[in-house]
């Protein structure tokens, strides 16, 4: 009996391959997007960690300098005090004359450290890699190791020469051996890695006497040893556990990753409508079969199980396909995501997609449970089908109409609670996003009721001009609201999310553009790369500044130094300014300020913090921030909070005078040049560039503005891509609903044909109907998109990144939204329309 039951229903499924495929596609796409985002995000972070391991081995801790590098004496000091398992590193990025476009990471190591701290390629057994190479690396100056593939690519043979582009000229390095790789990540990292000994690295990077970090392996008595090491560290040095460093990277990208995941869930939400649509279709189409089964004595329970087990198989297949698709998609997103992380958070040297069983399990669970929820309503519906009389479609519709009204009430509650959550949930990003989902879902449920009203309105207003045939599409939309409503809702959600995000991005863009305009008061800016703090840098920077100030046409000069300080135990970006009078206008304060601020900034231990910093650390004006100086910790009073969109972690701003009192001079990382009125900027720029060496560049404020805006757009490419994915799923949803709809009304369309409506007229009817659905979705998406934009701007983004921005209204976005919905619906309607128009009327009439 039971197997017969299943066969009866399975046969039915096979007869509707379209619906079958679309249901699976709905599940698969939803799961794929979620999985892909998760994989790409996790892999980016993982790759970062693994990439470091390629030259740090199994270290657990690390000593780094807040800036300016560690004194190499610290290393011997630690050794002398009896600490073992230490590995000094000197790292920096270099360019090769052989490949000007690429940048390579140069790492200077001590090859003879403890075995436990060596990396895989050092300790691993490898025939073409012998320990003798280490001795040569140490004893012969200017020798290096390189991966074999890179050597081949650059046409450098064994014992051939690499030429490094340095500040002054070129420096040759002899390749004495090749690095063996152990896995995909290390292969990628090694492809851009040059290994030398410490002395060579210090020389070519201009870091004589300095180390970039000391890697440490702490096995037992960790906290005691930590404390012992801490006590030996100078003011600018910090001991970090790699675990906590990983933690803080995660923390740094948390908001970014939550927002991405939300976009993935949006796709899943839209996919859920698709699954729901298909499952109701499959139940409703079988009401006769189910009725007869019930008559034969099949219980409600059995019917319920039958539908659920069907859904289970669909979900299983869909989820499996989704996971496979997700891995492929993840590969694509990986580049986008790590690109964004590179641009705004930290540098990632390798990106390899890693897939863990846990992540796959998560995707599996998500796909299965979402399908389960989407199928519950139709499964219950199926048990309620009367065994005696099979209800006509129209009767079912009047039933679902009552249901729709009730659902309208629920949706009101959802929307209200969504808004409440948005504004009452404090600083939680998750709640902020949850509120958007509540609002979207609420409006989605409300869509059918609103559609019914709109259709009534259209008929009342235009009915008399339309004629009977013209009224038909309007009527069809409202008559089969249980189908059309779902499609409109899915489309509405996708489009309103698009409108919301577009309005948000637009507002953000405007805000950033305005901020950039005012925060670039100088005419020309010089960038003096500062990640390699060579000993002579402060002096040469100082000389450069003086030469520039004396140039003809230069009015004023300001300087900046980007460095890192230990604030409240955290490594914190700090900008040290020597401000010209005009540069002060570049600050946009988030509060009323009085003129004593600038004076205090120069003469008292004070800082200005950026808005994100104030937000993330809950800092208010007047509070003190403890900064670690060479003379110990000192409280700096916060005297200003200024707008800044250059990063979402925030930073501190300090005067140079103040800074030099407590920290060593590290030169400048930037110089701002204010030209005299009427000076020829082009000419000035070229005169300045003649003074520059190596990687120093001069750029006009416009060029910087342009580059910054490009970076801004780049950070949103991933958002853009994901948004299109959810729109694509909505499109499939509309398509599936329309296919189901046209199938369900075959008989009715047959009658129309019998009356004398041509197949062309029929296609026009259906296209009009779907166009109408698209318009409704677009119209409803406008107010919903507005609400979404508001919550995004004033709740989610502020909580995620600490930025406040102004709401800029852009009517073009709304117009695009409507067009998008309309075109998507029309396109989705083309195939069903053609299919119905091509159905033979005789065949159509045979169905019922």
């Amino acid at each position: 009996m039971n197997s017969l039951l299943q066969r009866a229903s399975r046969n039915f499924l096979w007869q509707h391959p379209w619906q079958l495929v679309l249901a699976i596609l709905g599940i698969a796409l939803g799961v794929a997007v979620v999985i892909a985002i998760d994989l790409a995000m996790e892999s980016s972070l993982n790759s970062f960690n693994q990439a470091t391991k390629v030259y740090t081995g199994s270290a657990t801790h690390r000593i780094i300098a807040s800036d300016g590098g560690l004194d190499e004496k610290l290393y011997s000091q630690l050794r002398v005090k009896g600490f073992s398992h230490l590995s000094p590193l000197v790292t920096g990025y270099v360019k090769l004359a052989q490949a000007e476009q690429e940048s390579f990471k140069l790492v200077g190591i001590d090859p003879f450290i403890e075995k436990t701290l060596q990396s895989g390629w050092q300790s691993g057994q490898n025939e073409n890699f012998s320990p003798v190479l280490f001795t040569r690396l140490m004893t012969e100056p200017n020798t290096a190791l390189l991966s074999q593939k890179t050597a081949q690519r650059l046409h450098v043979p064994l014992n051939g020469q690499l030429s490094l582009v340095t500040r002054q000229d070129q420096q040759p390095l002899t390749v004495i051996g090749f690095l063996p790789d152990t896995n995909a990540v290390s292969e990628q990292v090694l492809a851009k890695l040059i290994i030398t000994d410490i002395a060579t690295a210090q020389e070519v990077l201009g870091l004589s006497g300095k180390l970039s970090s000391i890697e440490i392996l702490l096995a037992n008595d960790v906290s005691k040893t930590e404390a012992a090491i801490q006590s030996l560290l100078p003011g600018n040095a910090l001991l970090l556990s790699l675990e906590s460093q990983e933690q803080s990277l995660r923390e740094m990208t948390r908001a970014f990753s939550i927002n991405l995941n939300a976009l993935g869930l949006l796709s899943l939400l839209v996919g859920m409508f698709l699954i729901y649509n298909t499952m109701t279709f499959l139940v409703m189409q079988r009401r006769r079969l189910i009725g007869s089964l019930r008559l034969l004595g099949v219980t409600r329970q059995q019917i319920f199980t039958l539908i659920l087990s069907e859904a289970f198989f669909l979900a299983l297949i869909g989820t499996l396909i989704g996971i496979a698709l997700g891995v492929v998609l993840g590969q694509g997103l990986l580049q986008l995501i790590s690109g964004t992380i590179n641009a705004i958070y930290f540098r990632i040297d390798a990106t390899v997609l890693t897939v863990t069983p846990f992540q796959l399990g998560k995707g599996m669970l998500l796909g299965m449970s979402v399908t389960f929820f989407a199928v519950l309503p139709p499964a219950f519906e199926a048990t309620r089908l009367s065994p005696v009389k099979v209800m006509a479609r129209s009767q079912l519709e009047s039933g679902s109409r009552r249901l729709i009204k009730r659902v309208g009430f629920i949706s009101g509650i959802l929307i209200a609670s969504g808004l409440a959550v948005a504004f009452l949930s404090g600083n939680s990003i998750n709640f902020g996003l949850a509120s958007i989902f509540l609002i979207l879902f609420g409006f989605g449920l409300l869509t059918p009721v609103l559609t019914l009203w709109l259709m009534k309105f259209i008929e009342r207003v235009f009915g008399r001009f339309l004629g009977v045939l013209g009224r038909l599409p309007v009527r069809m939309v409202s008559a089969e609201i249980s189908r059309t409503g779902i499609a409109i809702a899915a489309l509405m959600i996708a489009v309103s999310a698009t409108i919301g995000m577009d309005l948000m991005i637009g507002s953000f863009r405007q805000t950033v553009a305005q901020w950039l305009h005012s925060s670039l008061p100088a005419d020309l800016y010089l960038a003096l790369p500062g990640d390699q703090m060579t000993a002579e840098k402060p002096l040469s920077d100082q000389q450069l500044k003086e030469k520039i100030a004396q140039l003809d046409g230069v009015g004023m000069v300001s300087t900046a130094l980007q460095t890192k300080l230990l604030a409240e135990g955290e490594l914190t970006k700090t900008t040290v300014f020597e401000l010209a009078e005009k540069s002060k206008q570049g600050f946009i304060f988030k509060h009323n300020m009085d003129n004593s601020l600038w004076d205090r900034l120069e003469h008292q231990p004070t800082v200005i913090v950026t808005e994100p910093y104030a937000y993330h650390h809950a800092i208010r004006i007047g509070q003190k921030i403890d900064l670690k100086t060479n003379q110990g910790a000192l409280g700096f009073e916060v005297i200003g909070i200024n707008a800044d969109y250059s990063g979402d972690q925030g930073h501190l701003i300090m005067s140079r005078q103040n800074y030099l009192r407590y920290w060593p001079d590290l030169g400048y990382t930037g110089i701002g040049v204010y030209a005299r009125d009427g000076a020829d900027l082009k000419n000035l720029e070229s005169r300045i560039s003649q003074l520059l060496t190596g990687q120093q560049v001069v750029k006009s404020n416009q060029a910087i503005y342009k580059a910054s805006m490009e970076l801004f757009e780049q950070t949103f490419t991933i958002t853009e891509a994901l948004r299109w994915l959810s729109a694509a799923i909505a499109f499939v949803g509309v398509f599936s609903a329309l296919m189901a709809l046209q199938f369900e009304r075959t008989r009715q369309l047959g009658i129309l044909r019998a009356i004398g409506i041509t197949s062309r007229q029929l296609s026009v009817l259906i296209i009009c109907e779907t166009g109408l659905m698209g318009l409704v979705a677009g119209l409803l998406a406008i107010p919903v998109g507005f609400v979404v934009a508001y919550v995004l701007i004033f709740v989610v983004y502020q909580r995620s990144f600490g930025w406040t921005m102004a709401f800029y209204f852009d009517s073009g976005v709304l117009f695009q939204g409507i067009v998008l919905a309309f075109v998507a619906a029309l396109l989705a309607g083309v195939l069903p329309a053609l299919k119905m128009a091509q159905t033979h009327p005789a065949e159509a009439l045979r169905t019922e």
Partner: protein, 227 residues
């Protein structure tokens, strides 16, 4: 010359393919129907009654042969032209679910008219009047699913006639109705069709109708046999 033929069928062949089997429904069927004649079509279920009506209405094309209606060979027309022909010349009543559920009773009746001309105020009045005659005057703005089966069938008959076609095809119009209601529906057909001099072919199982028919055929051996 004889009385002009309303319908003339020559050498008609029709078969369906079912997987790889050829299922022949009609072979070399010939038939002449005069204007105003009332033909009843009998036959087992599955013998091809509906198929026959569909061939005449142009809903289904024949494999070969000629179907000439009021002088037009519809078997030579394209699908599009057959539809346009049907629009003007043929009225159809099916066994059930004849009406468009999303249109009101009045709109269902107006639709065939709208297809062949611009609607005028008078058309609306005519529809109201016709519904009056059918004793459905109160149901002008009702949707079909609020009507009983008999009422629906009466509206369907009215719709088949509203645009004044010369040929009426009825496929078991009383098949879903009880005896009394079926009687009313047949009476209506009698008044509206026969008295108006229209040609009608009706497929039915109902014995009552046979008495009223001018000729009775049944489908046997892939052809028509006069009873």
């Amino acid at each position: 010359m004889e009385k002009p033929s309303a319908i003339s069928i020559k050498q008609l062949n029709k078969s369906y393919r079912e997987s790889d089997q050829q299922h022949v429904i009609f072979s070399d069927l010939d038939m002449q129907v005069s204007r105003g004649e009332f033909i009843v079509l009998l036959g087992r279920s599955g013998s091809g009654k509906s198929t026959f009506l569909n061939l005449i209405s142009g809903i289904d094309p024949p494999d070969s042969g000629k179907i000439i209606i009021n002088g037009t060979d519809i078997s030579a027309l394209s699908e599009q032209d057959r539809t346009l022909f049907r629009r003007h010349h043929i009225g159809i009543v099916f066994q059930a679910y004849n009406l468009i559920p999303t249109l009101t009773v009045a709109e269902n009746l107006l639709l065939p008219l709208e297809l062949i001309k611009r609607l005028t105020r008078k058309d609306r009045d005519d529809v109201a009047e016709l519904l009056d005659k059918l004793k459905l005057s109160g149901r002008l703005d009702s949707y079909p699913d609020c009507l009983s089966g008999g009422e629906q069938q009466r509206v369907a008959i009215a719709r088949a006639l509203i645009h004044d076609p010369s040929v009426i095809l009825a496929d078991e119009p009383t098949g879903n109705l009880d005896l009394d209601t079926a009687g009313q529906v047949l009476e209506l057909l009698d008044i509206l069709v026969k008295k108006a001099g229209k040609t009608m072919i009706m497929a039915t199982h109902s014995q009552e109708v046979i008495g009223q028919a001018d000729r009775v055929y049944s489908i046997k051996n892939q052809s028509l046999q006069r009873e």
